[in-house]
């Protein structure tokens, strides 16, 4: 009998091009996603060494980080450096012949939303991108992770990556989620449990009833933040929901090819006796709606809790918490539900999909945001935006007082005009609450889309379960 394998083992083994005795492997890459920020130096490297893109048909580029999200963006990008970076991608995509969705294309959006939406991301594949949130694609049972620009150049030139295998971690979320609790709360709960370095050296496989019951959108949210827990990648075994999502997408297989793919995808699960190096179990019913209070994604607590006292931590974290409370302008003991906010951002590769917009609009229906609140919703792609308009969701946002924007990374990372001003405080559906992440001296509280909508109405961090 063969040794039982994890899902990670199976995908890894299927992609080995060459392995050295010390365990260093050359791994084949099925899909290479590219955006404008981490690729210009890689394309320049190819030019300087006279190399080509080995598999342009497996390379997909889309500008997202620098792109303005206002209606007038067809007039061009004001910021010169941003414009140069987007123009560089336009040129590189054309010169090297890779698949490209320019700003003017309705299919443009955040690279991690466009990939699955267009059917580029499929179960069992290896997917890389010069972006840490590539972990998102693990929701399909694809081995997906972020790489640096030198590795982007390596993949462009060779369609492979030099890798050593990570360890296997199983994160099981048992039982059902309670009302008001979402995929975002699951992924924050896991990071709260393991810490931001808890996943370092591991590939996580998420499983359990609560994960199985999530939609594909929810699963992408969970895997998206695997990196915030330090993991190389997050994975979820494909099932009927996965196949259903993939079926009929522009670049997913058709006809007999589909049947062949489906038969293979059905073998992609961790064998019953497969061994994991680490196992974390969380009861789904124990997860409440969560918010972050500090400047690391591990700084997470239930909305019903209070800001912690730095002295209750240990080691280097004591100083880090002192620093983050000062940065965040918070006092130990302050109730999280009394923290006033002035900005709400709904969007990003974590929570910019149709289901996220639906969840927020459910809360906002027939309500108005608090006076003086700056609230924006930024669909993850042009197609998500179009669908939301067709479903009447856009209208709910507009009537509530939200700005209804065009697709892009927007305020998740402030490389474009959407930024926090110094001292502004934002309830954000994005993935990082680092110092300065959403703008210089801006303050970020990470929440789910429903919690962000609730905060927009009340003007403070709010328990979504209390909004009727």
């Amino acid at each position: 009998m063969s040794t039982p394998k994890t899902l990670y083992d199976k995908i890894w083994d299927a992609h080995i091009v060459h392995s050295d005795p010390d365990g260093t492997c050359l791994l084949y890459i099925d899909r290479h996603l590219v955006h404008e920020v981490t690729s210009p130096q890689a394309f320049e490297g190819l030019r300087m060494s006279g190399r080509k893109v080995r598999a342009p048909e497996k390379t997909i580029a889309v500008p997202d980080h620098n792109v303005p999200t206002t209606e007038n963006r067809d007039d061009g990008i004001d910021n010169e450096e941003s414009r140069i970076q987007v123009e560089a991608l336009d040129k590189n995509a054309k010169d090297f012949g890779v698949n490209y969705y320019p700003v003017s294309d309705i299919r443009q959006g955040i690279v991690h939303i466009v990939g699955p939406e267009q059917g580029w991301t499929l179960p069992g594949m290896t997917v890389v991108c010069g972006d840490s949130h590539t972990a998102t694609h693990g929701a399909f049972g694809a081995l997906a992770h972020g790489i640096g620009t030198s590795e982007v150049e390596h993949v462009l030139a060779t369609q492979t990556l030099i890798q050593k295998k990570s360890k296997n971690m199983k994160v099981e979320i048992t039982g059902k989620l309670r009302p008001g609790v979402t995929a975002k709360d699951i992924t924050l709960a896991v990071i709260g449990e393991t810490g931001t370095a808890g996943g370092t050296g591991y590939v996580i496989e998420y499983c359990g009833q609560a994960i199985r019951e999530l939609s594909m959108e929810g699963r992408m949210t969970v895997c998206n933040m695997a990196i915030e827990g330090g993991a190389r990648a997050g994975l979820i075994a494909p099932d009927e929901k996965t196949y259903e999502y993939c079926k009929g997408r522009p670049h997913s297989p058709k006809g007999t090819s589909w049947e062949m793919a489906l038969a293979y995808w059905k073998t992609l699960f961790s064998d019953e006796d497969a061994s994991f190096d680490k196992v974390v179990t969380i009861k789904g019913e124990d997860i409440p709606p969560l918010v972050t209070w500090g400047t690391s994604p591990e700084d997470v607590l239930p909305i019903t809790a209070a800001v912690p006292d730095p002295e209750t931590f240990s080691g280097g974290k004591i100083e880090a918490v002192r620093r983050s409370l000062e940065y965040m302008g918070l006092q130990a003991g302050q109730k999280l539900s009394e923290i006033e906010i002035d900005t709400v951002f709904i969007g990003s590769c974590t929570n910019g999909r149709i289901e996220d917009l639906r969840a927020a609009s459910e809360i906002l229906k027939g309500k108005k945001i608090k006076e003086g609140m700056r609230a924006m919703v930024v669909p993850g792609s042009g197609l998500v935006r179009m669908q939301a308009e067709e479903e009447g969701i856009a209208e709910i946002f507009r009537e509530a007082g939200f700005e209804w924007r065009l697709a892009g990374c927007s305020m998740c990372l402030a490389m474009n005009p959407d930024q926090l001003e110094e001292g502004e405080r934002c309830a954000s559906t994005s993935n990082r609450n680092f110092e300065g992440r959403q703008g210089y001296r801006g303050r970020t509280h990470l929440v789910s889309p429903a919690m962000a909508a609730a905060a927009a109405i009340t003007g403070k961090l709010t328990d979504v379960r209390e909004i009727q």
């Binding site: 091009v17 130096q41 793919a261 880090a320």
Partner: protein
């Protein structure tokens, strides 16, 4: 890539845990299409005020640390985004070795592509080197990659682990792409096998 063999120099102490890549190089500097020139913006928001004046209390602004070749940092250094601008900025500043109890995965890999040695040591040893670093200009730390040793200013010798392949590339300044291209036959063979097994991919 520049070779890394031995290094001796002053180490800058940064005991803060979870120093993320947004701190190392804020996103405003990611808009470059070049690799060079980022050293001046290393740790920008910690290092300068809004007007661009140096904050005198920041470690790299202190006279004894301005020429640091080594950084001793708190746990989980380099977490967050995959931006290779972080190691580019560190190398451009002149730092060629970062010591911590742990590094984020992508940052760790990116260092090796840029002639930087990221060193993982146990907490008690990092504590000793952190104290060494805090002594400033007279405290020289020596790193020897070939022999995998680090010598504190008091002559204490610690050994460290490093992946043999990464060590080989760093010692010889080798370009990964060139090495992989030597395996062209293996790649072609894989592609032909995969086109049978996974034609949809």
């Amino acid at each position: 890539m520049e070779k890394f063999e031995k290094l001796a120099g002053v180490a800058a102490p940064m005991p803060l845990v979870n120093i993320d890549t947004d701190m190392i190089i804020p996103k405003v500097f990611l808009k470059t299409i070049k690799r060079s020139g980022l050293g001046v913006n290393l740790f920008d928001e910690m290092r300068y005020d809004r007007e661009g004046n140096e904050k005198p209390e920041f470690v790299l602004n202190k006279a004894q640390y301005r020429g640091s070749k080594i950084l001793v940092a708190g746990d989980n250094f380099g977490c967050g985004s995959s931006r290779e601008h972080a190691p580019w900025a560190i190398a451009d500043f002149g730092i060629k070795c970062v010591i911590s109890t742990s590094f984020a995965d992508i940052f760790y890999n990116n260092c090796f592509k840029n002639g930087i040695l990221p060193l993982v040591l146990p907490e008690d040893q990092v504590d000793i080197l952190m104290k060494d670093a805090e002594k400033g200009a007279n405290s020289i730390i020596e790193v020897d990659l070939e022999n995998q040793t680090i010598v504190s200013s008091d002559g204490e010798v610690f050994s460290f682990e490093v992946d043999p392949f990464k060590k080989h590339c760093l010692l010889n300044g080798l370009d990964d792409i060139g090495l992989t291209m030597e395996k062209e036959d293996h790649i072609t063979a894989y592609e032909s096998k995969a086109s049978q097994l996974f034609p949809w991919a």
